[in-house]
């Protein structure tokens, strides 16, 4: 790290990174532990000519950012569990209408109002399945401050590149932590913008299949005058109930993900080369797990870490490989067992999969992982 460190909280970093990534619209509704993102955006957006609005609820916030994105602005909202639940319907709209936007969920203890000020990781499956209907999803989960910055920027880039909403999952621990971090210079930040149509209005098909399965996106008011609807539609965007058309467009939307896994998936591995045991962990618990691995390695345990930064799509292939390599996989999570289900699915019985789960608002500590690993070994 060449640049001098500065102290930021995770929430502050999300705002910093969003603006650096080109975000110029924020629509939100306050909720602990995400509110500082909105607060910071309300202050800094006008300074760069952007706009902040506190909507009447989360449903409206989600609607507003979709509207702003259609009008050409990179947009974001931030919330926590209860608000994330409310956003689900409009999140599905962004998915079917293929509107880029970023949704931050700073996870707290659930269900319902739960533990508003305590951390959790219990919305991970909701991020995948929260809205009705089949839909593609990208969800990212950073662990460290610099990652929060980078993954926020990446969230915007992926949203623009694949024309879809991207979910950024933090938890209360890293959101409220103030930590020293060295940020990149603005010219070091890669920024992706949505692909624009090059054809005439008459030829433009906002939902046609293309080589990369991502049709170019015209903004409103640019002369393309196309139709955007949450109904199943044809390549022109007009409603269709035609079986083949609808099926094909659904499949294309999935392909935006499945055919770009290399670009979307991101993870960190540590000491996996000769590992006989693996830990799979993410978010703040990814840090506990890292500590635990270092500790156990120091004691001679052949253990390695797989820390996905992209949770959805799930890194299926790599996890299946790991399961073939190791004899046991531990999955510590601040929930009653969510991502572990995906690990189990990919392990296909090749490795024993053991969840380490804790709810109640307290982080899983390295020593708890260490002792669980030793207990089983």
């Amino acid at each position: 790290m060449s640049k001098r460190m500065e102290l930021y909280s995770g929430n502050e970093l999300v705002a910093e990174a969003a603006i650096a990534a080109g975000c110029r619209f924020f629509g939100g509704y306050p909720i602990t532990p995400s509110s500082e993102i909105a607060e910071r955006m309300s202050k800094f957006l006008p300074q760069v000519g952007g706009r902040f609005i506190q909507m009447e609820d989360e449903i409206a916030s989600m609607g507003a950012i979709i509207g702003a994105s259609l009008a050409g602005e990179k947009s974001m909202t931030a919330t926590s569990g209860p608000g994330f639940s409310l956003k689900q319907e409009n999140l599905g709209f962004a998915m079917i209408a293929e509107v880029p936007c970023v949704i931050v969920n700073v996870m707290r203890g659930g269900p319902s109002t739960g533990l508003p000020t305590a951390p959790s990781q219990s919305d991970v499956m909701q991020a995948r399945w929260g809205t009705h209907g089949d839909h593609p999803v990208i969800a990212l989960a950073p662990s460290y401050m610099r990652e929060i910055f980078d993954e926020t920027v990446r969230a915007f880039n992926l949203a623009e590149k694949y024309r879809m909403p991207v979910i950024l999952l933090l938890d209360e621990v890293i959101a409220h932590l103030h930590e020293g971090v060295a940020l990149p210079e603005s010219d070091e930040i890669e920024i992706v913008n949505r692909k624009k149509p090059t054809v005439s209005r008459e030829e433009y098909e906002p939902y046609a299949d293309t080589k990369d399965h991502v049709p170019p996106m015209a903004n409103f008011f640019e002369g393309y005058r196309y139709h955007v609807t949450g109904l199943s539609h044809n390549p022109k965007g007009l409603p269709s109930t035609d079986f083949e058309v609808v099926h094909a467009i659904q499949v294309r939307r999935q392909k935006k993900i499945t055919e770009h896994l290399d670009d979307i998936l991101k993870w960190e591995e540590r000491s996996m080369e000769d590992a006989e045991i693996a830990i799979i962990a993410y978010g703040s618990i990814g840090r506990s797990a890292t500590d635990a691995v270092e500790h156990l390695r120091a004691e001679g345990v052949k253990i390695g870490l797989f820390r996905p930064l992209t949770l959805w799509p799930f890194p299926e292939k790599r996890v299946a490989e790991i399961a073939r390599q190791v004899k046991r996989i531990f999955v510590p999570e601040m929930n009653l067992g969510q991502l572990v289900l995906e690990v189990e699915r990919m392990a296909k019985g090749d490795a024993e999969v053991i969840g380490i789960n804790q709810v109640g608002g307290v982080m899983i500590r390295p020593r708890e992982i260490v002792s669980r690993v030793k207990e089983v070994a």
């Binding site: 409220h176 932590l177 020293g180 307290v362 500590r365």
Partner: protein
């Protein structure tokens, strides 16, 4: 003490415990070039009640970001002590956080009840001291910072001096540095004594 130092400051609203934590982390990051983090309670979490800030300072990148072996604990108020020391309350979310040999510094006027007394506790009438020496209790948090850094050396003297200066409202620099110095001096005396008895002062 290992490379990684964990500290917790606690108090009730207005006593400046949280600000003290921020200053300490800033001293480490901005002036000592160390890795540091601080995580404070925030309004939505506490309502007119006890507050605390945890600070972790290390020369290596910090992996696990929460305190789990607090080396130094400062309490400005009984309610804060009860909630955040918590050694006697198994339901407390902050249970299990203190090391056996943690140094505990309390304002001896305000914290008087130790259900499960810690091994090494320094009792000092910090607010009264600030009032007496500096005329106002608002400087008590910086005074305490002087003690904390003087004893733990978790940041350099220079760093904490700069960090305090950086945060001091215009016109209060001098008084703040004076407060810091009182703390330094106390720490020095204390360290010279070398005895770290439950009741030191």
């Amino acid at each position: 003490m290992s490379n990684r130092v964990e500290l917790r400051f606690s108090g009730v609203g207005g006593q400046g415990a949280i600000l003290a934590g921020a200053i300490l982390a800033e001293a480490a990051v901005y002036f000592d070039g160390k890795y540091a983090l601080q995580s404070p309670t925030y309004t939505a979490q506490v309502r007119g009640g006890a507050t605390k800030v945890d600070v972790i300072i290390s020369s290596d990148p910090i992996i696990f970001p929460q305190t789990s072996e607090i080396n130094f604990y400062l309490a400005f108020a009984q309610r804060a002590y009860d909630r955040f020391y918590g050694g006697n309350n198994p339901g407390n979310r902050f249970f299990r956080d203190m090391t056996e040999d943690a140094i505990v510094l309390v304002d001896s006027d305000l914290v008087t009840n130790f259900n499960d007394p810690p091994h090494r506790v320094i009792k000092l009438p910090i607010l009264q001291l600030a009032l007496k020496e500096l005329g106002r209790t608002v400087f008590s948090n910086v005074l305490a910072l002087g003690i904390v850094t003087g004893i733990t050396k978790v940041v350099s003297d220079e760093a904490i001096v700069n960090a305090v200066k950086r945060r001091a409202p215009r016109g209060t620099e001098e008084m703040n540095l004076k407060a810091l110095n009182i703390g330094f001096n106390f720490a020095k005396k204390y360290m010279e004594q070398k005895s770290i008895d439950p009741v030191t002062v």
